[in-house]
């Protein structure tokens, strides 16, 4: 075919691509698509921007004009000279009271600090199961070390408590293999024998010149108290909750009956009622000089409360497992403890993780309820002594904001860990 040469110009190369129209590129495109895609969303965008502007225009001067150095609210106001600003001086002046309560001896603050650092080491083998199993020894010893560090006094007390538990474990390992009931009862008897004999051997004056000064429970306070209650109650309530959940599914009528009544009763009562019982009612039943320590009464009540909730969460996980899993375990000839430990619980607990974490976070925040029974946790310190001092009466946002920030850090940490755990345990095919 002959080439038509009448044309004056024939394009031989491709036209370079022109840039997209300005409305279809970059920031403008992103704004159009995401913020102004319709009249409705445009209105929402503008309203939100106005709202953000209002909040920031109030919050930023408040934050940045903040006064960090003053000894009372009126001094703060003088320093601000009529401008808007936060009085963060209350945090610096009462820092130790917020963290440790107002009665914990100042020279001993390193003890709870050390206990907190050790907590990370003790929790690590439980939380991250890729670590060597031998590290669990640290976890087993930790509660007794932490108790000694925080309460001080003679180290013989926690030592004997530990020896009692160790003896129980030893007896159970030896005897329980052949005869479960004998091992179980023998373990309890061994523990109590050591506690009673050992407790009697500790001289009454042992705490007087102890290496660590003894600190009574009523002197504990501040965020330290929240952390202690949270850590103790979470770690106690998860195993108890699992046992309750298994008990509720048991084929033995008595066990099932007891577990059902326990769970339903505890779930039907508000936590604050249980705390009042711990604080007020139990005082009537014990003679004044031999009451159980208030801290332990509160730990028992919070643990019992959250164990009932965790039991129901775990029961949900157990119910979600297909029946075939139970039958598979039976057909392999596993007995009940083996089936639970090797097949059922690993799967059921994996399903229950979000629910358990939910309960744990809720429990940690519920520890602030102890302020209503006149324990000085973080919120109790703020509502009681600090706001009732003549210097700081009237400072609300700064103190409660600080408390919210502390709780957020811990709760967000727990939530991030649980998400990591879910990813780590994800073995299903999606």
């Amino acid at each position: 075919m002959p080439i038509d040469t009448s044309a004056a110009f024939v394009r031989t190369s491709e036209i370079p691509p022109s840039p997209p129209p300005p409305s279809e590129t970059g920031l403008v495109k992103w704004l159009r698509e995401n913020l102004f895609s319709s009249v409705g969303s445009a209105i929402l965008t503008i309203v939100s921007l106005i709202a953000i502007y209002f909040i920031l225009s109030l919050a930023i001067p408040w934050l940045f004009n903040g006064v960090w150095n003053a000894s009372s609210l009126s001094e703060c106001r003088e320093a601000m000279e009529g401008k808007v600003g936060a009085c963060f001086a209350v945090l610096t002046e009462r820092w130790n009271q917020l963290l440790y309560g107002f009665q914990y001896p100042a020279s001993e603050y390193w003890r709870p600090n050390l206990a907190l650092i050790l907590l990370f080491f003790a929790a690590a083998p439980v939380l991250f199961f890729d670590l060597p199993r031998k590290l669990l020894i640290i976890t087993a010893v930790y509660p007794f070390v932490a108790f000694w560090l925080i309460w001080g006094g003679t180290f013989l007390g926690p030592l004997i408590a530990f020896l009692g538990l160790a003896a129980a474990y030893f007896v159970f390992e030896r005897v329980g293999k052949q005869n479960f009931a004998l091992g179980f009862i023998g373990a309890i008897a061994a523990a109590f024998a050591i506690w009673i004999v050992g407790g009697g051997l500790i001289p009454d004056s042992a705490s007087d010149n102890a290496m660590l000064k003894a600190v009574p429970s009523r002197d504990l306070g501040g965020f330290m108290l929240n952390m202690m209650l949270g850590a103790t109650c979470v770690s106690l309530s998860i195993p108890i909750g699992i046992l309750l959940a298994l008990g509720r599914q048991s084929h033995m009528p008595l066990v099932r009956f007891v577990c059902v009544i326990f769970i339903e009763f505890i779930r039907g009562v508000p936590l604050i009622t249980l705390l009042f019982v711990a604080n007020v009612m139990l005082a009537y039943f014990f003679p004044p000089e031999s009451t159980v320590d208030l801290f332990i009464r509160v730990v028992i009540m919070i643990t019992v409360f959250s164990a009932a909730y965790i039991a129901e969460v775990v029961r949900g996980g157990l119910a979600a497992l297909p029946r075939g899993q139970y039958e598979a375990a039976d057909s392999l000839g596993l007995d009940y403890p083996q089936a639970m430990r090797l097949i059922i619980l690993p799967q059921a607990l994996k399903i229950s993780i979000p629910g358990i974490v939910n309960v744990a976070v809720g429990l940690f925040k519920d520890t602030t309820l102890v302020s209503v029974i006149s324990m000085f946790d973080l919120v109790g310190m703020i509502r009681g002594p600090i706001l009732a001092s003549t210097e700081w009466n009237g400072v609300y946002w700064e103190l409660l904001g600080f408390a919210a920030a502390l709780f957020f850090v811990v709760c967000y940490g727990i939530s991030q860990y649980s998400q990591w755990l879910e990813r780590r345990l994800a073995t299903d095919h999606r």
């Binding site: 109590f192 000085f376 009732a388 210097e391």
Partner: protein, 338 residues
């Protein structure tokens, strides 16, 4: 067993004890310290300071009793109680004495089986309004919105007051004093009403305290006083006469400053009897002869404690008012030491 709370829980036998009765004085001496129930925090009356030491009007009274009984004002174990836990703490023997600005009422005295040993502060319900409202009397408050704590006697007093004066109001229910401050400052209510001492403390914390005034009307009687359990008359006598000693000391001009001098003997026989240089009043109570001197030496006489903790020189700035000595036109009056 004293070892540790951990062990005592595990092996403590559970006893069911009756209510603590009998010789509280012996218990206090055996313990070596007075267990005194105070508020978890109330401006001017009881609050720990920055170094953790309890300070306040009620706290001072605890120290005075400890000084009278044990000879040392520091031998007090302060047991913080809330409005809900205070009465059980006293009834169960957790505290020996409750000094927690508690209003003396018939049912608390008779039905709850406590002995109020006297009145150490005469309070009453008052009103606070912004100055710009231009109100001079509570009777001008027709149609006002009033912030009021729910579930308290103040709520009932308010309704009675407005009804008997034939004027109307609109209540704004609030839960706590902190909430009330915010509501009142943001203008959600024209008037805030609660106990006058609480109003003064609240007003003192405002940025512009001068723009708010307390109205002159006091519409209820709130006699606040320390209390002990029924059934131990010796103990209630000790606490009652410690309070009376502080009041009498102010009346007779005995202060913590001139105490040492007065103790050498004066021409006034009542001062001599009070300070134990004459007569044997201390022995009648089962205490040392100089018990009252130690009580006054702890934190000063009634007037000194008042001025130091809630008086006009403090940020709370309460005037003596009804709490002046009877010789000054107030209600503070002690039976004679004779």
């Amino acid at each position: 067993m004293k070892a540790t709370p951990f062990l005592s829980t595990m092996s403590a036998a559970v006893f069911v004890a009756g209510m603590a009765t009998g010789a509280t004085l012996d218990d206090v001496r055996a313990n070596g310290e007075l267990k005194c129930g105070v508020s978890t925090g109330l401006v001017g009356f009881a609050a720990p300071d920055a170094s953790g030491r309890w300070e306040g009007f009620d706290v001072s009274f605890c120290r005075s009793v400890a000084a009278a009984v044990l000879g040392d004002p520091e031998k007090v174990q302060f047991v913080p109680t809330t409005g809900k836990t205070r009465f059980t703490a006293l009834a169960s023997g957790e505290v020996d004495l409750l000094a927690r600005n508690t209003t003396w009422t018939f049912s608390r005295d008779v039905d709850l089986k406590f002995s109020f040993i006297g009145v150490n502060y005469y309070d009453g319900q008052g009103f606070m309004v912004p100055k710009e409202l231009g109100v001079a009397s509570a009777k001008d408050l027709d149609g006002a919105t009033v912030c009021i704590q729910t579930g308290t006697t103040t709520e009932l007093n308010l309704a009675d007051f407005f009804r008997s004066n034939n004027i109307s109001y609109e209540p704004v229910p609030i839960e706590t004093n902190a909430e009330a401050q915010q509501q009142y400052l943001s203008g959600a209510c024209d008037v805030y009403t609660t106990d006058a001492s609480g109003l003064a403390a609240t007003r003192a914390s405002f940025e512009n305290a001068d723009e708010h005034v307390l109205l002159p009307e006091i519409i209820s009687k709130e006699p606040l006083g320390p209390l002990v359990r029924h059934g131990d008359d010796q103990w209630s006598d000790i606490v009652r006469w410690t309070l009376n000693a502080l009041v009498t000391a102010e009346e007779l001009g005995v202060t913590s400053a001139n105490l040492a001098e007065m103790q050498k003997g004066t021409n006034n026989p009542e001062i001599n009897r009070l300070l134990g240089t004459e007569g044997d009043l201390g022995a009648m109570l089962g205490l040392d002869a100089d018990w009252a001197m130690k009580a006054i030496g702890a934190e000063g006489n009634y007037g000194e404690v008042f001025e130091k903790t809630i008086g006009e020189a403090t940020p709370i700035g309460l005037a003596r008012g009804l709490n002046a000595q009877w010789t000054q036109g107030g209600l503070i009056y002690s039976p004679p030491f004779r």
